[in-house]
Symmetry: C2
């Protein structure tokens, strides 16, 4: 094995927390979607920042690739060891380090999941708002600049992370930011690390901004004839200043899949799912205004989920839409696309995508975070049917190129990983070269998550 | 002159928009506060990004330092040409390029001021919320990661800037971000440029996130016995989830100066000034709850400024506090400090600072953005009295070091410039070396705003 010396050195640091077992390598070489398996040479389970620093120094000495691993929920193959090397699994660094009620911040380790954090926060009156659907690790969410259903109100990981501890390629440990709510002291290294997908360092601790649990929550659904009218209603709601906590769009095909999977009976038309957070009077007022806006735009079947259990069911259905859609066509896998456009271009982007899908040989339900201009198509394909894969890839390519043409981005929240690398030049132009310059400056050997995001030699 | 060749080359690009007049050089070598004048060798007034790119290429060829200039309102000497060279004044790049109502964004040139933008937005129902008090240029505000009174609700320039056009040291033009509300596509170059104080590039265009003008606004003042009780009231208000649009603290000394300057009659005690934005019913509800919280914490004299003119007067007084304080001691200049700490440490930070000031030979009123943990002391000194300057510098140093000890930052919103360079190592440790590595990668000759922010050779 070419990496024997490196792995031996790692073993002296980690003992039996360096795994080379076949099931472990396979589990860390597989992703949730359609990418071919690429197992690492070994999996490390560090327990401290100090260990991560020593691991990194060894990998630098030996030129061994290093890929971080959280919960494995990436949809773009971020954590695949495409050049082999070491997978650093943060399963044993998954604690809440500290919750500071008055400051409304939590310090956490990167392997902790968002649901794990919220379970620990339940009694505090605080919660962590970023909700990508999957129970992702917080380190992974920071690394991909994740967001999800609540970004329209609470922002993305860019907004939710106040400070980081990061181990650099050479083993140095830096602390970026602080628990102070803001700072103008120097380059925003926190923001540089967020969304860098493990190519500039490994995150070993996060300081997260928490929110107060809302006193009152109201959730509702309503049906529209077309995506255009649904988007118009959303645009007007935003401009009116109504602070929606979530505003989700699902198309008729998604509704059909959800109905079948969750034994629900929504009309088979495009729907909006909305949620408001606030005081009882505030939520009631927002609900009333939203109802008026919906009616003006031809929305029907407007129904509030008043009871907490009805609301939970509603969002469970939304979060399970991906699985519902997969279940609707057994034996298939999916390319889950992710584009984001200016709100003014959203209706057009969705309509043109729907036209593409109607002409394609595969089904592809659409759903998205309509308040952010962000939507997904679940491109269902038989992985063994080359024509279906080609059709899915063509639809995905057309969506990405359309998003750029309309002034948007090829990924609103899933990240680049393996799937979007081909569009980086088109999206960023000379900016992509600048990213390469920064990468070269901080990781001159290119050992951090090689094969991802940056221009490949 | 050592720079003759460079200036001649610049003149071929700019003609008479390259100025070497003495008044122009002096005006661009002076700052609003206490730093000694350091004029540039010439001032350029470009009109297009293309011109800025050509300017930068010439400066790179000749190794000529380049410093950007907006409205000259920096409090830390950011735009001073401490190594001479070229000052690039964006006075002729100060237009609104485009307002996109549906997307709630504006594209603007860097020389436009925030008041200029808001004047143009008045009829649209939208406004740009970041308000540092001074009528700063938007390019300068981005470069220093400015914020101000409304950050508690609407965030800082980090949150308000969606996309940038930047001219790099070598003349390349990059576009970072887009008008889409979010993106996970690669390194966050927008955030890297925001707060980089002209050391990584010159911003030639900004895409800004706008907000809907609130339907209703309520503003109020109330007095407290101590900073502790005032901060407790603010903390509880934030945790309750009441969305304050502004929440400002002024100490008794500031109140006295404001009373004298604005012919007001506030009781000479610490005050909070608060503002709520929303629907009429929402603002009324928030006002009522805030009043209850204030009463619980011993706040008195709670008074709403219901009429728009009363509200305008209130915030004009707050914004003029700096001038009121200067006027209270004619012939003095000021070191305007700026620290930011976690909210839980704010009362202690202010109280210890007040104790320092009480023991010092100079007056120093305190005021700040209490919802962000950010406060300032206006250290008034006779510039010709070395003992006063020494006392002011000592107070400032103790505030900065205290902020770090309490887990905060040496600047919440004013930036590093000349005044805070000495604290960068203490605040960032190895992170400051990383900033130097990034600077070296993007500006290997060090021509961009030399002498600021980074480790000096």
């Amino acid at each position: 094995m070419p990496h024997d010396a490196a792995l031996a050195a790692l073993e002296t640091v980690l003992g039996d927390r360096l795994s080379r077992s076949k099931p472990d390598l396979e589990a860390h070489g597989t992703s949730e979607t359609h990418f071919p398996p690429t197992p690492p040479d070994a999996v490390a389970y560090p327990e401290t920042t100090e260990e991560v620093s020593r691991i990194m120094a060894i990998c630098t000495d030996h030129g061994l690739p290093v890929v971080g691993w959280g919960a494995g929920t990436s949809l773009e193959g971020h954590a695949l060891a495409v050049q082999g090397g070491l997978c650093v699994d943060f399963a044993r660094m998954a604690r809440v380090v500290e919750v500071r009620d008055t400051d409304m911040v939590a310090r956490v380790q990167p392997g902790l999941t968002r649901e794990g954090l919220n379970a620990e926060l339940r009694a505090t009156g605080l919660f962590f708002p970023v909700d990508p659907g999957a129970n992702a690790s917080l380190g992974g969410m920071a690394s991909t600049r994740a967001s999800g259903t609540t970004a329209v109100r609470y922002g993305t990981m860019r907004d939710a992370v106040l400070a980081l501890e990061v181990v650099l390629a050479d083993g140095r440990v830096i602390r970026t930011g602080s628990a102070a709510p803001k700072s103008s002291a120097g380059y925003d290294l926190t923001a540089l690390m967020i969304g860098s997908e493990g190519t500039l360092g490994l995150i070993t601790e996060l300081t997260l901004r928490l929110q107060g649990q809302p006193e009152a929550i109201g959730a509702a659904t309503c049906a529209f004839e077309t995506i255009d009218t649904a988007v118009e209603a959303v645009t007007e709601t935003i401009q009116t200043g109504l602070p929606m906590a979530r505003i989700e769009f699902v198309d008729a095909a998604t509704v059909a899949a959800v109905n079948a999977h969750s034994k629900a009976d929504f009309p088979a038309r495009p729907h909006l799912m909305v949620e408001f957070h606030g005081t009882p009077a505030g939520v009631a007022e927002q609900a009333e205004r939203f109802g008026e806006i919906v009616a003006e735009h031809g929305g029907t079947g407007f129904a509030w989920a008043d009871r907490p259990e009805d609301r939970s069911r509603l969002w469970r259905m939304r979060h399970q839409a991906y699985w519902a859609i997969l279940a609707a066509r057994p034996g298939t896998t999916a390319i889950v696309t992710d584009v984001c456009v200016p709100i003014s271009a959203l209706a057009r982007a969705v309509a043109e995508t729907q036209a593409d899908i109607a002409a394609a040989p595969i089904p592809a339900p659409i759903l998205g975070h309509v308040g952010d201009g962000n939507f997904h198509a679940i491109l269902l394909m038989d992985p063994d049917a080359p024509a279906e894969r080609a059709a899915a890839e063509e639809l995905s390519r057309r969506m990405a190129e359309r998003a750029l043409r309309l002034g948007g981005t090829v990924t609103g929240e899933h990240g680049i990983g393996m799937g979007k690398l081909r569009y980086m030049a088109a999206e960023h132009g000379a900016g992509w070269e600048v990213m390469g310059t920064l990468k070269q400056a901080l990781d001159p050997q290119g050992i951090l998550n090689p094969g991802k995001m940056l221009q490949q030699d």
